[in-house]
Amino acid sequence: MAKDYIQTDITSVQQPVEQANGLANAHYIDPATFAEESEAVLKSTWAGLAVGADVPNLGDAKPIQFLGMPLLLIRDKDGELRVFENICRHRGMQLLREAKTIEGAIRCPYHSWCYSTKGRLVSTPHVGGAGHNTHPSIVKDDLGLNEVRSYIWRDVVFINISGDAPEFTEVHADLIARWSEFDSPLYHGGADSRFELELAANYKLAVENYCESYHLPWVHPGLNSYSRLEDHYNIVEYGKFSGQGTRVYRQFKAEDGSAAFPDFPDLSEKWDEGAEYITVYPNVLLGVQRDHAFTIVLEPKAHNKTVEHIHLYYASDDTLAKNRAVNTRQWKEVFEEDIFVVEGMQSGRHAPTFDGGRFSPVMDEPTHCYHDWVAGRIAQHRG
């Protein structure tokens, strides 16, 4: 079948970092290329959709659009998180238009077919005629909500739209092992510990910027006094993940100079002043530090539009709101400093002779690692 777009050349991306170019402009500015790429990169892998804290209580349900697909994140009556297509199996009607707590069943607003919070079809009123609520051809066990494969790690709800990716724990085994010391309960700070930033940019640019420390002294000069460029190191695992680490992390301090938040339990000395910031490909940015962690789920709204959903987590559910608020504000300032960069790179992708650019072999390898992974997914998708 003829394609309505020209496939990009990805061979120059999959070169050693010394020779490689970045992904071509079309991956950032062309909707058709973005659509092809999304099949390879966002739908056939484990993409971040949301966090468990979005639905903290039993029965909480939140409709979410992901790449145009209507999805429903729900915490069932036993506390288990699930993702369904947000449509009734009857006539494809959207079930929920806004977040709510399901008290009993999910009732379709069209003909009132009802589903349990586990997705089971439980009633089909008048389906066999007025007051006749069964019909031999409508088998409830066959008509539960369509579930989307999901996995929860560090409270992030990852989904595999294609349904055929290897298990999450297999794909991300190395990263899970790397951060095994942080495998302890996470407590979302609540309403004061979440915010969103809108970017007029492709989500990959946010990843690319997050992966490397090269930009820190220029874009975040406030870090220079205590977290210098040479205090950072690259994290590069080709085909898996990338990011950066620091050796001079300072605990967040309260007004009186004491530690504001308790540490995650049983951390080794490495984390006394160590912290790491890694991208879980394709679209989740994570940070771990001794006293708090954060998650950024990048929502790809379009090829040139992204929403960053940012959440801060602590080792305890007993932290002071005033300390959390200051911490949130400080991180927000840092992340806002990055906006002009990713939006500037998005604008730059309209320069017709830009060839994807080059990478510093020393400083940009985490970013190249991500490009190489994206290119590899696309190559596999193209067959």
Partner: protein, 70 residues
């Protein structure tokens, strides 16, 4: 249906008062003079009870099941 009850049901719909709808449709079912009418109203009461996790849902369902309607 009783006119007053009909008005109450319409008002409950207008106010999206689903707990009231469970009660009112149940009353309509109780007042029905034939099984089809009873099951028609029971269906509404049961659906809204299901949605609300209303304590009467099991009883409403049992009545429909007894008539082979659920």
């Amino acid at each position: 249906m009783d006119v007053a009850l009909d008005d109450l049901i319409l008002t409950a719909h207008a106010e999206d008062d689903r707990a009231a709808l469970v009660t009112l449709y149940s009353r309509a079912a109780d007042l029905a003079e034939d099984v089809d009418t009873e099951c028609f109203f029971l269906t509404y009461a049961h659906i809204f009870a299901l949605e609300l996790n209303h304590p009467s849902q099991a009883n409403l369902r049992a009545r429909l099941v007894a008539y082979g309607r659920e």
